[in-house]
Subunit: 192 residues, 2 copies
DNA sequence: ACTGCAGCTTGACAATTGTCAATGCATTTT
DNA sequence: AAAATGCATTGACAATTGTCAAGCTGCAGT
């Protein structure tokens, strides 16, 4: 259990089996069915969720009811409403499952406890967040400087399995487009 | 010297005067004139820069020569090409000064040394990066779900001094717009 | 003070993207 | 097997945004 979690952890920091056991005690396994919510806007995010298996998305809903996907999370990724998780304020994003999924939950308290007992864990979180930050920076740069076709091609190159696992309209939402526009972008690319 | 740097540091972690002295030894003060480069695309970012005074921007340049601003940095902010800084790969962004500025540089080596000697510093960086991550997430959410007018109004509300210190065309660039479009957005807002 | 330049604004027009409606296809439900 | 549902595609048209050209303003440098 928690195989992938500790595998990813080991990529960033070295821990003894004893330290791993301490961490294990604070982890909560959770299975979640497709379409179920992990977090709803307005609730407080009391956990960060590491994805052992499956796929989730975080998204906001605007006044018109349109959904805007801020993040996907597949195996090996962590997802939460970071702002809510860090501050205890109500979440501004919804998170739900795109597939039946297996998660590892870490509560705010658990994270504090782990940090107290295993200071190395701090570096793990730092590197984790840094990676997420850099990915997000690339995403903004792509939005600012590339054509839709280039953006789509790059996205698929970066996450080749995205197409297989996520409906087009959600990729459109992630890119800030309507499904119709994404469909036309794909046609243009195909006809080249 | 380094007043603001240590003030910001103290907001996140508690350090003894002795620890502060250790950090001080690794910091490099640098003054930079308006329009001067701090970093050019292709070079390796060997430092992160904390802004004691002044203003800088990080931006990429596309094939057509258009600039796209990924980040502004004013007093109390840190700026670098994080990817290059972390990996040692060539930078993909340019960084230059919008005003005569006073910076505190921290080299990659300095950061490593500080982390070795003062483990509390790790938490500082983590919180720093987490803040940057959350800000960037808000920026993407704003790009995905708001109208141009709302985005502009929110931006000005968030950074009220931006208008005073940064030319409109750079705000347009930051928002992913042409200067003409931003000018029209501003006119619409004014006529309400 | 004068000149020149850079930045903001405006207008006319082009290109891109969104909206709405219809269709087709595949999957699920009955 | 038939019906219903959800998703992708397409077309026609509307709205938004970009492009190009021109003019205005204020500041910088002489």
């Amino acid at each position: 259990m928690y195989e992938l979690f500790f595998e990813k952890l080991a990529e960033k920091i070295a821990l003894t089996p004893g330290q791993q056991d301490i961490i294990k005690r604070y982890l909560i396994p959770k299975k979640i069915r497709k379409n179920q919510y992990l977090l709803q806007e307005g609730d407080v995010a009391r956990h960060a969720a590491f994805v052992e298996k499956g796929a989730l998305r975080a998204y906001s809903v605007d006044e018109k009811g349109a959904e805007h996907i801020i993040q996907f999370a597949f195996e090996g990724w962590t997802i939460s409403d970071m702002y809510s998780f860090m501050t205890g304020n109500p979440a501004t994003y919804n998170i739900d499952a795109l597939e039946d999924s297996e998660l590892v939950l870490i509560s705010t308290n658990a994270q504090e406890e782990i940090l107290k007992q295993i200071p190395e864990y701090e570096a793990y979180i730092r590197l984790q967040v840094t990676g997420a930050y850099m990915a997000m920076q690339k995403r903004i740069t792509s939005m600012l400087s590339l054509s839709l076709e280039e953006r789509y091609i790059n996205l698929i190159k970066l996450y080749p399995n995205l197409i297989q696992r996520v409906p087009q309209r959600m990729i459109a939402s992630y890119m800030g487009l309507t499904p119709e526009t994404l469909s036309r972008v794909r046609r243009k690319i195909k006809n080249k």
